[in-house]
């Protein structure tokens, strides 16, 4: 099984102007891979990720994942797809402020009968001792770990990370990247990481480079390095 984008286009209409955020892109990636999406700001990285995560719909083209053609799903089916198969990690964590760390993970765990044990996941991201803290009592790195825990607790097949280290310092960033790598190894989760930091891409199996809504390079990364070795 694989992930396929076939001639995917995403248009944004602004009055009479049409803006192509993604312009007829096609690619394929394997399950279990970590895929990096790199490119300058505004090149369409987040747009691509959001389409794959079922947050938005492509204007044309097909996106296939796990045997599903996302463009053919109804709104309700698309929600079910997110519910069952996708985990998200965002640059600004997007935790729910009035819930504790534990409860923020629980929000996602609720959705799936086969969810992992919340305590175990918090343990895995190294936050078990802070589980009763509210987001504003946690540092940026800690919040990002909570959001990763939230993303993986329902053991999704697909983990989508949009600039997961964008708001973090060097040391914390590396810890988060190690965590993502660990998840990939343990759960065999397919992971997409959006970043404009090319160094981060060197820990991924596949690198997709975007510019102005088009793919300018797809590369399989043969000399993959471990996140510990990533430097920038």
């Amino acid at each position: 099984m694989s992930i396929q984008f076939i001639g995917v286009t995403k248009e944004y209409k602004n009055g009479s102007n049409i803006f192509l955020a993604l312009n007829n892109i096609s690619f394929e990636a394997k399950e279990g891979e970590i895929v990096a999406i790199v490119g300058p700001s505004g090149s369409g990285k987040s747009t691509l990720l959001n389409l794959l995560g079922g947050l938005d719909r492509a204007t044309s083209g097909e996106i296939i994942f796990d045997g599903l053609n996302l463009s053919a799903l109804s709104d309700k089916e698309l929600t079910k797809y997110r519910r069952d198969k996708v985990g998200f990690v965002f640059q600004f964590y997007n935790l729910i402020p009035n819930l504790t760390a534990y409860e923020n993970v629980e929000v996602a765990a609720e959705l799936n009968k086969n969810s992992l044990k919340i305590d175990e996941v918090l343990e895995a991201v190294g936050l078990l001792d802070k589980k009763d803290k509210f987001p504003q009592e946690l540092s940026g790195g800690e919040q990002q770990r909570v959001s990763i825990a939230r993303a993986i607790v329902k053991s999704p097949k697909l983990l989508l990370c949009d600039e997961p280290t964008g708001a973090l310092d060097y040391k914390t960033s590396k810890e988060v990247l190690e965590l993502i790598d660990k998840i990939n190894q343990i759960y065999k989760t397919t992971i997409f990481i959006v970043t404009h930091n090319t160094s981060i891409a060197s820990m991924c199996h596949r690198i997709i480079r975007l510019r102005s809504g088009q793919i300018i390079e797809i590369k399989e990364n043969i000399n993959r390095i471990s996140p510990k070795e990533v430097e920038w």
Binding site: D56, R83, N98, L99, E106
Partner: protein, 729 residues
């Protein structure tokens, strides 16, 4: 100013909220205006009424014919002789009354004054019997054209006999015809009406002409009852809308503040761009202005459409001519009040925000999510969605208070209606169904011996209270009467002492000694009251038959009334009048018919208000929780799941708001009834029937369901991608 171009956009963007506010303003102002105008017009009408009708000071009957001219000139009074005759029409009775031009001048409510061959009727009777202006009716051989509807001053409240509690317009009506027409009938009776300094002349008339009957106007319930009701009407009908007016404006204040506070980022941007605080605050004063002005325009339209039908309804009920002009000054007051209160809301809201720096405002929050002591609650044991609801409620305490208050306001209005209905039902049940255990009652025009019949007899005697001038009826009953069930609390009492009704007790405010004047012979006597029984209508005293006969010097076993389970075969010459309980109940039903329509109207109104409030509160909740909602959508929650997570905590505050309004309404109504209704011969027990309470809550619950349905659409519209982007900025 470029700023003001925003106004239209902001309003169209949040149109439902603003439309809600505008409607609340419009409803509140129009209700206030309609009832204030009504009260104003009624006050004017009553003062005009006694002046233009020149109502009598007394009516009387003498043994010999009066020399009217001589008495008028000697004693400087006005006297007029007036004929009347009862005729039957279909299955009802019309009392034809001679048109007078000195005293008790009839006033036309609609149509033209009668000429020969014409008739004018009291409107309630005409309506009940389907008679219209221009119709022809035939009364015992003479045909009349209906020229209009009329109010006869000594018959404002047209009861057939003076002791009737309720008028039954299907059975009895009054009408005027010309002197020439009335003299064509046989069986005419007449009374003299007198106006002026009555006391001196009364003695002279009695000495020279022998008075057979004398009735001061204060003793004429057809006038007194109506007059009191009309005088109380303004108080009553202004107090309820005023309460509503006050509650809605408190509510509007709270709601507008919250809506303005949602504009935090916009205010931050303007502030950052270099607009001064003053400019920004001025800008935000436009919203209250727009809401108030459009609200008042709508209110004017509502008022214009509703004033006339409502006035007509009251006129129909009270039977005096009243203008239905709208008093626009009340709309103006409403507009001013609206501008002041809403501006204050908007000003204080923007003031609170502008205390912070533009950068703080641009973040979209003035304070970090504060952790209250409640956040530390240990919720581990609970299910997730319960935890979530509790967390939501802790965060949104002020929202919850808003909701409680909003539901409270709507329920108050609803329950005022229900309480009115429930209390009247209770009144009827308690007094008539639970007290009267007979089917027919016969009043006789002479005393008979109680042993000469095999039914239960009683003695009735008419008095008036020396201090208050109230008419009081005294019943002499058998000790073990089976026809009246007098109760004190749960227990039935025997007639072995002297009892007073609850309504009379509340009016006189004492239960010891009452000084009475016998209406037949002006004899004075003092009665020691022993106790009060639970009867809520009538100025009535119950006492043992022998004791009553003794104090009025009549034969020990004599009676002048009979209770019976079936119609009796008595010599009709003996019967003064007879009543059937079924018919009395029916006349209550008829009198209360309009109350039902009022209830429906109040129900609809409170439904709308509750809907507006709940809608605004839910849309605020959704607006304030956009990020959380979009996050939940990203995680894969369905709309109805999000809906129930976000909104189901509303149920409890709504219940609370509803429950709180129950004692409030009881207290409020009790206090107005205490002050304004005690003159009418009814002491109304304020009761809200549990079934009505449930029904009321069902209405509020429906509102919650409807608003949930609406908010689902709003949740659906929140775009996940846009919100994520917004937050990242």
């Amino acid at each position: 100013m470029i700023l003001n171009k925003r106004i239209k956009r902001v309003i169209t963007l949040n149109k439902a909220q603003y439309i809600g506010l505008i409607f609340l303003v419009a409803l509140s102002i129009s209700l206030y205006t309609i009832f204030s105008s009504l009260a104003f017009n009624f006050n004017k009408a009553t003062s005009d009424y006694s002046r233009t009708t020149n109502i009598e000071d007394a009516k009387f009957l003498t043994l010999k014919d009066l020399d009217i001219n001589y008495i008028e000139n000697t004693f400087n009074v006005e006297i007029e002789k007036r004929h009347e005759v009862d005729v039957s029409y279909k299955s009802s009775t019309i009392r034809l009354i001679e048109l007078t031009n000195k005293i008790n001048i009839p006033l036309m409510i609609e149509g033209n004054l009668i000429k020969e061959g014409e008739i004018a009727l009291n409107p309630a009777y005409a309506k009940a019997n389907n008679i219209k202006i221009g119709d022809f009716i035939e009364l015992e051989g003479f045909k009349y054209k209906v020229s209009g509807f009329v109010s006869i001053p000594d018959y404002i409240y047209p009861t057939k006999s003076l002791s009737d509690l309720m008028a039954d317009p299907t059975k009895f009506g009054v009408a005027i015809i010309t002197s020439k027409d009335i003299l064509k009938y046989n069986n005419l009776t007449y009374f003299y009406s007198i106006k002026g300094d009555v006391e001196k002349v009364k003695k002279y008339i009695d000495e020279n002409y022998k008075i057979l009957m004398w009735q001061d106007i204060q003793d004429n319930l057809r006038y007194v009852l109506a007059k009191k009701k009309i005088e109380q009407l303004p108080q009553l009908s202004v107090k309820i809308p005023l309460l509503f007016f006050t509650l809605t404006f408190i509510l509007l204040f709270i709601l507008l503040r919250r809506i303005i506070k949602l504009e935090i980022k916009e205010i931050g941007t303007l502030y950052a761009l270099g607009y001064t605080k003053l400019e920004i605050q001025k800008h935000y004063l436009f919203y209250p202005l727009i809401i108030s002005i459009i609200g008042s325009i709508l209110a004017t339209l509502f008022t214009i459409t509703l004033q006339k039908p409502l006035t007509n309804y009251y006129v129909f009920y009270f039977n005096i001519p009243v203008q239905s002009d709208v008093k626009y000054k009340f709309i103006l007051y409403g507009l001013l009040e609206s501008i002041i209160i809403l501006s204050l809301a908007s000003y204080t809201a923007s003031q609170t925000l502008l205390k912070h720096s533009p950068t703080t405002l641009l973040r979209g929050k003035i304070s970090k999510d504060r952790l209250t002591f409640l956040s530390g609650l240990n919720l581990e044991k609970l299910k997730f969605n319960q935890k979530f609801k509790i967390r939501e409620s802790i965060r949104g305490i002020s929202k919850i208070l808003t909701l409680i208050f909003g539901i409270f306001t709507a329920s108050t209005l609803l329950l005022v209606g229900f309480a009115a209905k429930g209390s009247i039902d209770a009144l009827i049940n308690k007094t008539i169904k639970n007290t009267l255990n007979y089917k027919y009652v016969y009043y006789l025009n002479q005393n008979i011996n109680k042993n000469s019949i095999n039914q239960e007899g009683f003695k009735i005697a008419y008095f008036k209270d020396k201090n208050s001038n109230e008419n009081i009826i005294v019943y002499g009953l058998e000790e073990n009467t089976k026809s009246l069930k007098l109760k004190k609390g749960k227990e039935e009492v025997k007639v072995d002492k002297i009892y007073i009704t609850n309504s009379l007790y509340e009016k006189l405010n004492k239960k010891n000694n009452i000084e009475l004047i016998n209406l037949f012979n002006n004899q004075e006597l003092e009665l020691k009251i022993d106790d009060v029984v639970d009867v809520y209508t009538g100025n009535v005293i119950y006492m043992p038959l022998e004791d009553l006969n003794k104090i009025i010097n009549e034969e020990r076993n004599s009676i002048n009334g009979i209770f019976s389970q079936q119609p009796l075969n008595i010599d009709s010459k003996l019967i003064l009048k007879y009543e059937s309980i079924d018919e009395t109940l029916k006349s209550f039903d008829i009198a209360l018919e309009p109350v039902k329509y009022m209830l429906v109207a109040m129900g609809i109104l409170s439904f709308i208000i509750a809907l507006i409030v709940v809608y605004i509160v839910t849309s605020l909740i959704i607006e304030e929780n956009k990020y959380t909602i979009s996050m939940l959508k990203v995680l894969g929650y369905y709309e109805n799941e999000i809906n129930s997570l976000m909104l189901s905590f509303m149920l409890l505050p709504s219940v609370l708001g509803y429950v709180l309004s129950i004692p409030f309404v009881k207290g409020f109504l009790n206090s107005i009834l205490k002050t304004s209704l005690k003159d009418i011969n009814l002491a109304i027990p304020i009761e809200i029937n549990p079934i009505y309470s449930l029904f009321g809550f069902a209405i509020i619950y429906t509102v919650l369901l409807v608003s949930k349905y609406i908010s689902r659409k709003r949740i659906f519209k929140i775009s996940m991608v846009d919100i994520l982007k917004l937050q990242n900025e």
